[in-house]
């Protein structure tokens, strides 16, 4: 019995040492020179490997910075702080001042929006979208089945009590993966400091939208009339905000008859109140 034990350990240990030595020799023989700065940049990057920069992981981005000279300001997760650190390592000055972005789900439908049929299928937005663009009567609505939740690397999305996806602003880093994933294109990246959001993407006429969804934009243009900075405009039956002009006065939020526009603070408040 103990002979088997000794031989097993000896044999496996021997094979291990043999191949280990062989690999060690190979690694010296086949060594290639890598720039030390790549490792330094990797340490500085957030390490989330989310792909928002357009590269497959933080290591790939670090390598691209040194080898291909791509912009050092592409990491939306690390933001300005990381860009400056990379700038110190590489000696490149960061030219663009990156404004932080967050994602925003442009829909409050869910239980507010009627259904054309009952969808009984795979609980995935892509699958539901294949069937007549989803069960909702509004074809721009969030389907609430959570394909975005599955891909978010920061667990920043959940389905709220309306049945639509909602972004947790304290966790969202603006990487943009959910934006690419959503089959309805219902999620958009907006500046993190944006005070007001139009939470609708329906471009049909108001009289068509009204019977479908009680909080859909009906293009009544009341917001456009009340905005003093001319920041909000109704184009193609949908209100949209120019964030370079918006002052955050919330006049449009108060005026909107269907409550399609929401302020950022109120989003956070509602979230906090329902998380009790």
């Amino acid at each position: 019995m103990s002979q088997v034990f000794i031989i097993s350990v000896g044999a496996m240990g021997g094979i291990g040492i043999l191949f280990g030595a062989f690999l060690a020799y190979s690694s010296k023989k086949f060594a290639i020179e890598t720039d030390e700065r790549i490792k330094e940049i990797e340490v500085v990057l957030p390490g989330a490997n989310c792909g928002a920069c357009g590269f497959p992981g933080c290591s790939a981005y670090a390598q691209a910075i040194i080898d291909d000279g791509v912009s050092i300001g592409l990491c939306s997760v690390g933001g300005q702080a990381v860009t400056e650190k990379i700038g110190k390592i590489t000696g490149i000055s960061s030219d663009s001042d990156m404004a932080a972005k967050v994602a925003s789900v442009k829909c409050q439908g869910g239980t507010n929006c009627s259904n054309n049929f009952e969808y009984v299928g795979i609980r995935d937005c892509h699958a539901a979208n294949l069937l007549h663009k989803g069960e909702k009567s509004c074809k721009y609505a969030c389907l609430g089945l959570g394909s975005c939740i599955n891909v978010c690397p920061f667990n920043a999305i959940r389905i709220n009590n309306l049945g639509v996806a909602e972004i947790d602003l304290s966790r969202c880093t603006g990487c943009g993966i959910c934006v690419k994933e959503c089959p309805k294109a219902a999620i958009e990246l907006v500046p993190a400091a944006a005070p007001v959001h139009v939470l609708c993407k329906n471009i049909e006429m108001g009289k068509i939208v009204k019977p479908k969804c009680s909080v859909g934009c009906i293009a009544c243009k009341l917001c456009e009339r009340v905005c003093e900075s001319k920041a909000i405009k109704v184009e193609g039956n949908l209100a949209s905000i120019d964030y370079t002009l918006c002052t955050g006065c919330m006049a449009c939020v108060d005026k909107c008859p269907v409550k399609a526009i929401k302020g950022r603070a109120s989003e956070v408040e509602e979230k906090q109140s329902c998380c009790v």
């Binding site: 031989i7 044999a11 496996m12 062989f22 690999l23 086949f30």
Partner: protein, 195 residues
């Protein structure tokens, strides 16, 4: 003796093709078969690992595992150890000689370690009690069969890119269908040689 080896070789390449008849090694088969030149390189790398691991695992089986009766519990461990080391070595070699190839193979190069075709080959050799020469020829045959399958698949997929595929079948759907049809077509070789 030579006829024996030839039969084993043809058996591994055509009749019992590792990918299309034994359904081993499907991960790189589907993952690296988008372009013919990358597929060919992947096939060659896998053939190299298959041949070397066939030899190394036979040596371990004959001289260490069987004489001391360790086969039933150390077989998988030692085989995977050998395979992993060989893959690591070839990875270093490719990274040094051709960084472009290294980048285009990407994650699939270290995934050769988990390619069940390699472990499958080692275990099949043990099962059939092949001697060293037979194991090595079996390894070479398996590798060439794998290369054949993956290059044919790559050729077909390159053509499919230009075709009009229905929305629901795009991507994985049409690829798997093609693989299935290819597999059925290779059934035509069965009975070519009786083993």
């Amino acid at each position: 003796m030579l006829k024996d080896l030839l039969l084993i070789f043809i058996g591994a390449v055509l009749v019992n093709n590792f990918v299309l008849s034994r359904f081993l090694g499907i991960c790189p088969f589907l993952g690296v078969s988008k372009k013919v030149d990358v597929a060919l390189s992947m096939g060659i790398a896998t053939t190299f690992v298959l041949t070397l691991s066939a030899a190394a695992t036979w040596l371990i089986q004959s001289f260490i595992l069987e004489p001391y009766g360790l086969s039933r519990f150390l077989q998988y461990v030692s085989f995977v150890l050998v395979i992993a080391s060989l893959v690591q070595m070839i990875e270093m070699f490719i990274k040094k000689t051709s960084p472009n190839l290294y980048n285009s193979l990407g994650i699939f190069l270290p995934l050769i370690t988990t390619n069940c075709a390699i472990l499958g080959l080692a275990l099949l050799s043990v099962n059939k009690s092949y001697n060293l020469a037979q194991s090595i020829v079996f390894g070479v045959g398996a590798g060439i069969g794998f290369t054949l399958a993956i290059v044919i698949m790559a050729g077909i997929r390159e053509e499919i890119e230009k075709a009009d595929i229905p929305e629901g079948l795009k991507g994985a759907g049409i690829t798997l269908l093609t693989a299935g049809i290819l597999s059925i077509s290779f059934l035509g070789f069965s009975g070519l040689i009786s083993m």
